[in-house]
C-alpha cells in the first residue's frame, strides 16, 4: 500500500489538538497517587481476598490463563519490537527492492521468508502489521503471517522431537503450512478488498527522531495487541477448563470427523506453535492426518490469534480471513495427509 491513499487516513494525525494544549499540571498530579492506590489495592487484595479465592476450578483456570499470557508475552514483546524497528529504522524502499514487484510473485517469497523468524504466532501478527505499514503488499504480509509460526526452524525441530522416527510428519507440516499460507495470500491478492484491511498507521512522524518513533510505536502496539492477547487467553483458558478431554477419544476412530475435531481443538486450545507438536503426539488414538490438521490449523487459526488479528487488522478483515484460512488449512491437511502420511 503506498502512502497517500485514502486508507492512510490523511488528517487523522491532526484532527485533535496536540497534547500540550489544555494539559495543566493539575491533571498530571493524580497519576502518582493512582499508581500508589492501585498498588495498595493489590497488596490489600493479596491479604484479604487471596485466601478465599481457592476453588480448584478457579485456580486451574487462572493458572492456564496466566500461563498463556506469561508464555506469549516475551514473543509479543519481541514481535512488537521487531515491528517497531521495521517502521522506525528500515526504509520503505528496502521492501520494494527485497520483494518482487508483482504481488503474486511476492506472496510465495514472503511465505518462505517466514521460515527465518523463530517465534510463535504472537510475534508474527505485529510484524506482519509493521510490514504492511511499510508498504509491503498486504497479501504478501499475510502469507508471512501464516507461514512464519508454522515453518520456522524452532517449530520444525520441536515437531521432529515430538514425532521421533517419523520425519514424514515434519515434511508434511512444512509443506502443508507453506501451501496454505501461499494459497491464502494469492486468494487475498485476487479477491481481497482494500477496505477490509485498512492500514491506517504510522508513517514514522517526522521531527520526532527515530528512537522517539520507536518508543511510541512499541508502546502503542504492546498496549493494543497485549489487550487482545488477554482476550484470547481468557477464552482459551475457559475452554481448556470447560471442555472435557474424554469426549475426544470417543470420536478418534471416525475418519473425517476425527480430523475436523482435532482442527477444532487446535482452534480452541490456542497452544503456542512451539509446543503443539507434543500435544499432537500425545493424541495417540487419532490418525496421522488428524494430527497433521491439528499442527497446520493451530499456528494459523486459534482463539488467541483471532483476538490478536481482530485487534490489529480490524473485524471486517478477521471474519473473512479466519474462515478462509481455516477452510484452506483443513483442506490442505486432508490432501497432504492422504499423499504423505
Amino acid at each position: 500500500m503506498t502512502q497517500g491513499t485514502p486508507l492512510d487516513w490523511p488528517g487523522a494525525e491532526d484532527h485533535l489538538p496536540p497534547d500540550s494544549w489544555g494539559r495543566g499540571p493539575a491533571r498530571e498530579s493524580w497519576l502518582p497517587w493512582s499508581f500508589v492506590g492501585l498498588v495498595a489495592l493489590l497488596v490489600a487484595g493479596r491479604f484479604l481476598l487471596a485466601p478465599h479465592l481457592t476453588a480448584p476450578a478457579l485456580q486451574t483456570w487462572a493458572t492456564i490463563f496466566v500461563a498463556v499470557c506469561v508464555q506469549a508475552l516475551p514473543f509479543l514483546v519481541f514481535g512488537v519490537a521487531l515491528s517497531a524497528a521495521i517502521t522506525a529504522f528500515v526504509p520503505a524502499s528496502f521492501w520494494t527492492r527485497a520483494l518482487p514487484r508483482q504481488t503474486y510473485a511476492a506472496v510465495p517469497v514472503a511465505g518462505v521468508a517466514g521460515a527465518v523468524l523463530p517465534g510463535c504466532e504472537c510475534a508474527s501478527v505485529p510484524v506482519a502489521s509493521g510490514l504492511m505499514a511499510r508498504g509491503v503488499a498486504p497479501a504478501a504480509a499475510l502469507a508471512f503471517l501464516l507461514a512464519s509460526p508454522a515453518i520456522n526452524p524452532v517449530v520444525l525441530v520441536a515437531t521432529a522431537v515430538a514425532f521421533p522416527g517419523d520425519p514424514a510428519m515434519v515434511v508434511a507440516r512444512f509443506g502443508a503450512s507453506l501451501t496454505v499460507a501461499v494459497l491464502a495470500g494469492w486468494i487475498w491478492a485476487r479477491f481481497g478488498r482494500s477496505e477490509w484491511l485498512p492500514v491506517p498507521r504510522r508513517t514514522a512522524a517526522p521531527g520526532h527522531g527515530k528512537w522517539g518513533a520507536f518508543v511510541d510505536a512499541m508502546c502503542h502496539d504492546l498496549l493494543h495487541t497485549g489487550g487482545f492477547l488477554v482476550i484470547g487467553g481468557l477464552t482459551a483458558a475457559t475452554l481448556n477448563v470447560v471442555v472435557p478431554r474424554s469426549w475426544l477419544t470417543s470420536v478418534a476412530g471416525i475418519p473425517v470427523v476425527s480430523v475436523l475435531v482435532l482442527a477444532l481443538l487446535a482452534v480452541l486450545l490456542s497452544i503456542c506453535s512451539e509446543a503443539d507438536a507434543f500435544v499432537a503426539a500425545s493424541l495417540t488414538a487419532f490418525s496421522p492426518t488428524a494430527k497433521l490438521a491439528f499442527l497446520v490449523v493451530g499456528p494459523m487459526v486459534d482463539l488467541k490469534l483471532i483476538a490478536l488479528q481482530a485487534g490489529t487488522f480490524g473485524r471486517p478483515f478477521t471474519w473473512r480471513f479466519v474462515p478462509l484460512t481455516l477452510t484452506l488449512a483443513i483442506g490442505v491437511s486432508f490432501v497432504t495427509g492422504w499423499v504423505l502420511l
Binding site: H15, D19, R23, R46, Q59, A205, H208, F228, C272, V279
Partner: protein, 238 residues
C-alpha cells in the same frame, strides 16, 4: 480526560505489567507454575523491556514529545485496560501449579509424550528415584522389563480414585506452558491415599502387565510400601 493523561495511564499499564512479570521471574520463582524453567531469561527480558519502555514513554510525555496519533483508532486505549487482568490474576488468585483438578479423574486419558527407549540406562542400584515419565516409559518399553522386581521411588501429587484401594501419584508434564499440560499418572495400591493434592514420595514396585503390553494407553500400577509427605518440588512439572 485529555489524550496526554490517557497516554500516561497506558504507560502505567505497561509498568505494572512489566513489574508483575519481573516479580514472578526475577524476584521469585513463581513462574515455574506457568512455564518451563528455561523461560526465565525470556520473561526477565520481556519484563525489563516493558518497564524501560514505560519509563521512556513517561519521560517523553514529561518533556512534551509524545506523539498525538493514537486517536487513529480509539478502541486501542480501551482494550489496553485488559492488561490489568493478568496482573490481578497473578496477585489476587496467585495461581498455583496445576493440581488434581487439572489432572482429571479416572480416565486413562491421552498417553504422555513418547519416551525414547534408547535413552534408558540400566537402573542404578538401591532404590532409584525415577521421574514419572521415565517410569511409564520403562513400563511400556518393549525391549525388556527393567522395572520388574525393582523398588523405585516416585514423586508427585495425590489424585484420588473412585476405585477401591487405589489412588494416583501424578505429575503434570508441560512442553511450553501450563496450557499444554498432560497428566502423568501411576496407580498406587497397597497404602491408603494421603490427602488430595498433597505432594508425596512413594516407594514401591511396578506391577507387571498381565500378558502383553497393552495396545492403547493404560495407566501402569505399582504396589507401594512407603509414602512420605514432602513439600512441593521447586519444579512442579516434568
Amino acid at each position: 480526560m485529555g489524550a496526554a493523561v490517557k497516554r500516561q495511564t497506558q504507560s502505567l499499564m505497561l509498568l505494572i505489567l512489566g513489574g508483575a512479570l519481573l516479580n514472578i521471574s526475577a524476584f521469585s520463582s513463581t513462574y515455574v507454575n506457568y512455564v518451563k524453567p528455561g523461560f526465565r531469561p525470556l520473561l526477565v527480558g520481556a519484563g525489563a523491556v516493558l518497564v524501560i519502555l514505560a519509563l521512556a514513554s513517561f519521560i517523553r510525555q514529561w518533556r512534551g514529545q509524545g506523539d498525538g496519533h493514537d486517536h487513529a483508532h480509539d478502541h486501542g486505549p480501551r482494550v489496553a485496560w485488559l492488561l490489568a487482568v493478568p496482573v490481578f490474576a497473578i496477585v489476587l488468585i496467585a495461581p498455583p501449579a496445576l493440581g488434581s483438578f487439572a489432572a482429571g479423574g479416572e480416565d486413562d486419558g491421552p498417553a504422555p509424550r513418547p519416551p525414547a527407549p534408547a535413552a534408558f540406562r540400566k537402573l542404578s542400584d538401591g532404590v532409584p528415584q525415577l521421574a514419572l515419565g521415565e517410569f511409564i516409559g520403562r513400563a511400556y518399553d518393549p525391549a525388556g522389563t527393567s522395572l520388574a522386581g525393582r523398588q523405585v521411588r516416585l514423586t508427585g501429587f495425590v489424585v484420588p480414585s473412585k476405585k477401591k484401594n487405589l489412588w494416583y501419584v501424578t505429575r503434570m508434564q508441560i512442553s511450553c506452558c501450563a496450557a499444554d499440560a498432560l497428566a502423568l499418572k501411576v496407580a498406587v495400591r497397597g497404602v491408603p491415599a494421603p490427602r488430595e493434592n498433597s505432594w508425596v514420595q512413594v516407594t514401591g514396585s511396578w506391577i507387571p502387565w498381565k500378558g502383553k503390553i497393552p495396545n492403547g494407553y493404560v495407566i501402569p500400577d505399582m504396589t507401594a510400601t512407603d509414602v512420605v509427605k514432602i513439600d512441593q518440588p521447586a519444579e512442579p512439572y516434568e
